[in-house]
Symmetry: D2
Subunit: 431 residues, 4 copies
């Protein structure tokens, strides 16, 4: 059934299960598609956008169902066009093939984008689509099209890097507070401290979403590589003089738009920020992260510990284990286990730890483990308080990135390597 006849049925039947709102929206989408592209009325696009925004959950599901079922290319037509292309791979046949393969819903999305606020609405639509996709696997075809368009529209070439500071508008700053995903921002005073002169914050913006950061990163300028995150988050920490800094510490990076999930901006952001900071502070030599190890404890729970190790680790069951003095053997053991986890524990060919995968994939080096790096409740629960520094050496990023993806090498400092080797699990592995 083609969309038009479908619509006829949709619009005609009073007994239809699909309710009025969805029908109206589908009607507007049909009207949009019926226009010649160049004459698309922005008034129509605006109406359709408004109808999208006005959907409740139920009617949105209906709308996605319609998009998935009735705006996909016909398998027969596709096969015919493919056969013709195979018989004669001429430009004309190729053009026909491409047209046949492209789902009409892509064109709907393109035309919705013509009205003011279109891009924002489509990003929001994808976020809602993703939420329901587990329960509605057939919506995946819609996601494929939205992804295709959004990836093209959010191409690095269209993003601009902006510094965020206390001169930034409140409408943007408020979003940082709301979006921050790594170390929650406790209101405006906390935010203000993170934007002082010994800090930097940068975000990517897209011309169509002027008040919406796409991704942002928080940086502390410090003397020496930071080992603990609490001093960075404490609003009472004294201001440092950036002129004395030799390290730029990336302590938080947050993707803001759920609707852009799967489009990766972090790698480009970090590289650009390193370049810009090098220009502003020629005396800063080291660009490093202070990163969490989110799944270390979970991995630890199922690690095949032997001998004295198991009872030592068992002490972590006590939520207060780290208060007071921690026995030296336990500290040594945890450090070695964590190094082993980061360097050797794999999921397929890649590290088990997602943060490690990200930074190592970017070409960074696993430089140092930090004991009691994050003593927040979350830090203790997830990683026994440990944190890790990854270092970005601009000259070696390309090479390390290659090694990582080609040879599946985890590039770590000698100190971390040694810790991983000293881990008892490493021995058991050899045998």
């Amino acid at each position: 059934m083609n969309p038009a006849s479908f619509l006829r049925k949709l619009l005609g039947g009073g007994q239809s299960a699909v309710e009025r709102r969805t029908r109206e929206l589908v009607g507007l989408c049909e009207a949009l598609l019926a226009e010649r592209g160049e004459y698309t009325s922005t008034a129509l696009a605006r109406d359709a956008l408004a109808a999208c925004q006005g959907l409740d959950e139920r009617s949105r599901e209906d709308f996605f169902d319609v998009l998935a079922r009735h705006y996909s290319p016909s398998p027969e037509a596709v096969s015919r066009a493919a056969a013709e292309y195979q018989a004669d791979p001429s430009p004309a046949n190729f053009a026909r093939l491409q047209e046949t393969v492209e789902p009409p819903r892509q064109e709907i999305f393109r035309r919705l984008n013509m009205a003011p606020g279109g891009t924002a609405t489509l990003v929001e639509m994808r976020s809602q689509l993703l939420k329901g996709m587990k329960a509605h696997a057939h919506w995946r075809v819609i996601d494929y099209d939205l992804m295709h368009l959004l990836r093209s529209w959010f191409n690095r070439g269209f993003l601009r890097l902006e510094r965020i500071d206390w001169r930034t508008s409140a409408i943007v700053l408020e979003k940082l507070i709301q979006y921050e995903a790594v170390h929650a921002i406790q209101g405006w005073r906390d935010l203000r401290r993170r934007l002082e002169s010994d800090r930097r914050c940068f975000a990517f913006f897209h011309p169509q979403l002027p008040d919406e950061p796409i991704i942002f990163i928080e940086v502390a300028l410090s003397r020496g590589m930071s080992a603990q995150v609490q001093p960075l988050l404490d609003i009472r920490t004294q201001l440092a003089d950036p002129a004395n800094a030799d390290c730029a510490m990336f302590y938080s990076i947050t993707n803001c738009q759920e609707g852009l999930r799967g489009i990766s901006f972090g790698n480009q952001l970090i590289k650009q920020v390193v370049e810009d900071l090098k220009d502003e502070f020629p005396h800063i030599k080291r660009f490093a992260t202070l990163s969490p190890i989110p799944n270390f404890r979970r991995w630890l729970d199922s690690a095949p510990l032997e001998g004295d190790d198991a009872p030592l680790v068992a002490r972590l069951a006590d939520p207060a284990w780290h208060l007071g003095e921690v026995p030296e053997p336990l500290q040594t053991l945890l450090m070695r286990l964590c190094a082993y986890y980061l360097v050797r524990a794999k999921s397929g060919l890649e590290p088990l730890d997602p943060v490690a995968r990200f930074h190592l994939g970017n070409g960074a080096v696993l430089e140092r483990l930090n004991w009691m790096g994050d003593v927040s409740e979350q830090g203790m629960q997830r990683s026994a308080g440990l944190m890790v520094n990854y270092v970005y050496w601009l000259d070696e990023l390309e090479k390390n990135h290659e090694r990582y993806f080609r040879d599946h090498d985890v590039v770590a400092s000698p100190a971390v390597e040694r810790l991983a080797r000293e881990c008892s699990l490493a021995d058991s592995q050899k045998t």
Copy 2:
């Protein structure tokens, strides 16, 4: 032969006809494709862009040949994917089909776009491609991909309308002088007159091409609908008071980017400008063009004139025919023939005249013919000095547009209709 093996041959053979520059560029494109999308190095993209810009004509042709021949999808793979989709139209099979059908060169273009200046270079590349496409029909497949991307990136939603005036930067103003395609701008003084307080000029801009107008339109605010273009172009014409104007005359509209040919911006621009002018000047009631009739004379040369008409029209052979007094019968005859040409002469179902096609397709009305509307050499040669006003009535655009495309109706004023009816060719048609 897949691209990789092709490249090997390309890079390997000293006797290859393809020269060093092209080989280097293809090498860079291969390297770009080899990267994981999110890790694409902007340095690499920058190098590839620079290599594109550095191509001479010969090596550019070679490059286009490579893009057309070796970066198209394999017909066999396409047929296989199509068959699988036909057998089972699952999301996974559909995704595979789409991936198979998309030519790898699209991804090359997307990655080139990540470096600064990428969009501008791709627009320029398409302009060169179009130039050579007559002689190299097989490049059409490249054009298909560039068009696909550029149409997506230059979506109306990403364009912003800007007023151009004497406060605009010289770098943009200079481009108006250079690009103006309807009534050439004779230097800065001429331009300045066209930007005075009784005129308006608007352009669409794209965030990635900040100093490049995409399309621009020139408007004169006047009392009564302008019938002659020379007073509008004469820099000595006295300033009018916009407060007294009741018409906004669109007397020139120019598409600036050859590399965006085929992507239509005019319709959207005019509608937006009408909206904006209505806001600024609530007392302006009529939005009309003063338009050329570029092929009237050419059509006239082969029109089947009868009786006294032929010898009358033959007088136009004298370049000075319009100087001194023009016999009333000749004027009447030309006005009727021109009305007939605009209203009745067709190419398929659409008017023969390209400017008429554009404005009527937009939903405008053919309002009035103007005797001696353009007495410039070009105006006399192309249209015997005649010009035409098309009127944009906001409330009727949609309806007229519909009539035009559905019923192939040329919507003209009663006066123009009558002129067309009175034309002798109209009689002959009836018989």
Copy 3:
């Protein structure tokens, strides 16, 4: 003693009571004065500015003493120049007189202003001067010069009106929270409510103090004239639709710069804001304030009440007098007394109430008294919970302003007039 010899003594004597910092600063000021104006080194001005900013309280007092005592014109020289001017009022003699009369410290201030941040430092300096002027009456001569310059530099022509909303930078918004003097802003959430779509906020800015509001005003767009301030301040109050508003209520106006005390900006600000709001909302007919009556209670305490009035008013001693039901006679009495206070109570020829003086002087009309207009602790203490609306009728401002200053008329609405007449004090006055 001329400044130079004074300085010599200052710089020479180790036993001098004036300490090093002041001496250094005076040395820098002398160096500044020694330069030819056009060659003034900004480096020197910068050093002098830094020295100003680095003064502690003690050394600042010394510095002011020096400025007052040693940088005033010599009485003898002034008399001589005046005599010469009287004998021959030629341009040359007049010029000499003006130069003689101008204190050298004015030139010091002008040169300090040449360095970045100069204006801000001078504004701050005046604020400190004012603080100490009670105890140091002889500093008044410095104030005269600073006022003269600041009044000239903060001329209305150099101020620009800016709308403040949630897009404004945090650095400015933070200052609103800090400066608000009428109804304190309780943090960012409160501020945000005051900047929503049914509110407006405007401020004057000066080019040299880009992040510092000079004065700002808060406006609520409402249907009908607001009578109570608590709903305007409550962050949970529902958003109104500005399209339905017919009143713009000015509910707070704050002068931000103590160092500009005595330079009046409020009148210009209100007039400009009324103009701008009329443009944005042609359907808004009434521009009115909701204003406090800061000294009503204090005046009441000493009012010569008679008969039953005194015991009624005495109830106000109970802080909870207004909770529960207020007896009708008390309400009537207070309304009449307050109307009398505003309309008849004078200090010299002008109203006793400072807020009334301001708005009536601007040409506004005393329109309405509002029972329980401000039930905050402060509102109860100062004005027994009463508030007042002053209305700005653009067409009558000039005339009312004239009446106010020429005839000392308090222009009040008939309702307020009647209340004042009904007050028992009015009777007693007649006898």
Copy 4:
């Protein structure tokens, strides 16, 4: 006669010579003065401004006469206030004195400045005042007041330096063409060449005159110190690579506002530009001018030449003297005479040459004479084709400036010193 009674006469008498326009303007000024400062109506100020702008030459002269004669302080009142100050130099008496001495026209100017466009009108008014001041010496008192205010309002602190390039708005660029006073700009192509990548252009702007440069300077980035100006002015001169430049040559500096004559901006501009260029091009070591010697030929005409010198110099009477080969003795003679002129010829204690006075006063060094530095007609006529380089060594500016003003030393390079010594006029001087 006080202004009020004067006005009465002015307004009353039909036979008055002062015509309607002037009377109206004076009436508006009186009304402005009659208002309380803070309540000054911008409408009134706007009307008064418009009246200023609408004056023809005759009525403007009348207006200046009124301003000069009737808005000066009364000599008697001044003497009285001076006497009181002498008797008791209290702050109050001092304040009264200052108020008495300040002419009421200053307040008129301050209030005119409150309306939009006020500053521009006052700058224009002064320019007209200066034009007529030779013939009307008594206007000098008006000039004194305007200067006082303008100097205060155009304080360096309120100016901002802006780079001018091809991205600057046409409205500003057009003014450069119009104002350039040293080497005329021949239209837009010429201007464009002067703004290419091997050039820099900077201007001071004032917030109240956003489209009006106050002063601008043109700079060429070159390898080696430029000796001839024609290659810098030739639009066909090939672009140089700024990366190879080691000199920044200041080849033109123009004061734009006649109405600001006497307020010196050049010194501050050059120093700021040197600072900025040092930041942008750390490899540029020398900041020098290529300057004209405007009065060398005029001086030469009356120089007491002896022996063979006179007939040699007489050859300059032939306008073609420099075409073909110039005899070596003549070249030597002219170089020596010019060096003598610049180093030794004085007007009072300062150099006769005005350009020398400016740069030497700024602290620059007279570095080199350039034979045939300017072969334009004007260059030959004024300075026999000679030009001079002044060098700005940042570290020595202060010291040289001191030497120049204290010791009246012309700081010249050894080469120029030797040329001056070798001049025959130098010998005659010794005897």
